[in-house]
């Protein structure tokens, strides 16, 4: 059984100017423990696809199975953890209480809750800040808390919607490094929405390249960089080869070096 099975999913939105097809006949399978990035220009439906898997929205047609269940049942069973672009921490709850939130909501007893939270705070390296409030933390630290919160119930699937999109480049690279480590420790499958090609290549086993209007899967690029991904990887030829492969898939044709990159006009930024 795979982690996520998307078959023939179409999603249309009714807007004032008529029907907009956000996703058109998408099929995608994500295996257990696999890290898959969704990348593409704005409007390609990558966030919409993630929201459908999370059952925050329902497909117009087609089906989505998460661990063999419907997306709705998977949500009710808490089969996934989710991280949004904004950390979305509750400002009146301390770091501990924020991470504890899903456990408290689902009636986990206090001692078990505390033990799990202590583990998680350690995992994301925020032990000193256990009793701080979100407003006292930097953006990167807030996002770590959000990741810890998503991991609280040991989900086998983590959905991440541009989680590092609002962070500066240095923080972003450090967070990517952390995420590689956390994923190795938890063994969860990840669907990761991003705008950044290097980010997608650095993190993923497979990069799903999408194109807009209507949202379709243009290509799926396998990244074979192995499991040991350290800072040094960013300097290696295999990494650059991956970046080139994804870029070419995005632009639909080989990009000759120094070209006036027609593709860039399609709004692909590599923040």
């Amino acid at each position: 059984m795979s982690a996520v099975e998307v078959s023939g999913v179409t999603k249309t939105f009714a807007t004032r100017s008529g029907l907009v097809t956000a996703l058109d006949d998408i099929s995608l399978t994500i295996e257990k423990g696999e890290f898959v990035s969704l990348i593409g220009p704005s409007g390609c439906g990558k966030s919409t696809l993630l929201r459908l898997v999370a059952d925050l929205d329902t497909p117009t047609s087609g089906s989505i199975e998460v661990f063999g269940k419907t997306a709705r049942q998977a949500r009710l069973d808490q089969s996934y953890g989710i991280v949004f672009q904004s950390a979305g921490l509750l400002p009146w709850r301390s770091v501990t209480a924020n991470i504890e939130l899903p456990l408290a909501l689902h009636g986990v007893a206090k001692p078990a809750r505390r033990a799990r939270v202590t583990e998680l705070i350690e995992l994301v390296g925020l032990t000193e800040f256990a009793n701080s409030y979100p407003e006292q933390l930097s953006g990167g630290m807030q996002q770590r808390v959000a990741i810890a919160r998503a991991l609280a119930e040991r989900p086998e699937l983590i959905l991440m919607d541009e989680p590092f999109g609002a962070l500066d480049e240095m923080t972003r690279e450090r967070m990517q490094q952390e995420l590689v480590r956390i994923c190795a420790e938890t063994g969860a499958a990840v669907i990761f929405v991003t705008h950044s090609i290097p980010e997608a290549v650095f993190l993923s086993d497979r990069v799903v390249v999408m194109s807009p209007r209507p949202g379709r899967i243009r290509d799926v690029v396998s990244i074979t960089l192995g499991d040991a991904r350290g800072e040094a990887l960013r300097e290696e030829a295999t990494f650059f080869a991956g970046v080139t492969a994804v870029r070419e898939a995005l632009h639909g044709a080989p990009v000759s070096t120094g070209s006036t990159s027609k593709g860039a006009a399609r709004g692909v930024d590599s923040r």
Binding site: I82, F84, S86, G88, L90, P91, H106
Partner: protein
């Protein structure tokens, strides 16, 4: 520093008001100023505008000529306490009713469209018109040993004024969480009540505090007005009327219960501020009233 500044400015404001009063009394036209038979400026006689010092002395003197009469200030304080009790009951009832309406409107969008205009309309009914109705309805309530008392009518009228800001403020507060937070709760499969308890209620605290501040002031105004219009005994409203009636012979006396009513309002605002202090962690994103 800024707190000290605020206190100083407040004190300066009060002193300035006193200075203005005395200055007008000293230099204003003795018979006031009339234009085409309309009194535009008040007379400055001791009857119309007693000296501040006279008011203070009168407050310290016995209320009546009787042997064991209380001093005026004590009578005023006792009346204020009685009115405060009534207003507190009114505010409590108003808060429960107001939050109830807010929950109803939050739960059913249709209710918001159907109920809100009536709530707004309810506040345009003059209290004076309402008071006799409530007194006469209350007078028919008799269950066993329980009988409706006059102060209860006053509390009901106070709650009628107090529930409105609470209902509106609570609704705004309950609707204040960001979409991201609501989706997060949805992803946790948290139901309506759990979302209320874990997200909407804590998020609404800053709004509720503003609402309570307004509600407390409304409850006090409602109490005083209702005491006057229902003739309820023992409260500050009654005392204001009683002392004003002795105005021609004892003009300074009437100002004590007015000052009492003002202090009562400040006291109520102070209580709400103290409650707000204990809820500091919920008020990280404070909103203005």
């Amino acid at each position: 520093m800024s707190r000290l500044r605020a206190v100083l400015l407040g004190a300066v404001g009060i002193v300035l008001l006193g200075v203005l009063w005395e200055a007008y009394k000293a230099f204003g036209p003795a018979t006031g100023f009339e234009l085409a038979g309309v009194q535009l400026l008040p007379r400055t006689s001791d009857l119309a505008m007693p000296h501040l010092l006279d008011m203070l002395n009168r407050a310290l003197a016995p209320a009546n000529t009787g042997q064991d009469s209380q001093p005026v200030w004590l009578a005023v304080v006792l009346a204020c306490l009685s009115s405060l009790g009534t207003a507190a009951v009114g505010l409590a009832v108003g808060t429960i009713v107001g939050v109830g309406f807010a929950l109803l409107m939050l739960r059913f969008r249709l209710a918001e469209a159907a109920v809100l205009p009536w709530l707004i309309l309810s506040q345009t009914v003059p209290l004076i018109a309402l008071a006799p109705l409530i007194v006469s309805w209350g007078g028919r309530i008799q269950i066993g040993d329980f009988s409706w008392e006059r102060w209860m009518s006053v509390a009901v009228i106070a709650s009628y004024l107090a529930f409105f800001p609470v209902a509106v403020g609570a609704l705004r507060g309950f609707q204040s969480p960001q979409v991201a937070h609501e989706e997060l709760m949805h992803s946790y499969a948290a139901g309506w009540w759990k979302t209320l308890a874990y997200l909407r209620l804590p998020a609404s605290v800053p709004y509720l505090i503003s609402a309570l501040r307004l509600g407390a002031a409304s409850a006090i105004i409602g109490t005083v007005v209702a005491e006057v219009s229902t003739g309820a005994k023992g409260g500050i409203g009654r005392l204001i009327i009683e002392y004003a009636q002795s105005g021609s012979s004892d003009p300074a006396k009437a100002f004590s219960p007015i000052a009492g009513a003002v202090l009562m309002g400040l006291f109520a605002a102070g209580i709400v501020a103290i409650v707000a202090l204990t809820l500091g962690r919920f008020r990280r994103n404070e909103v203005a009233a």
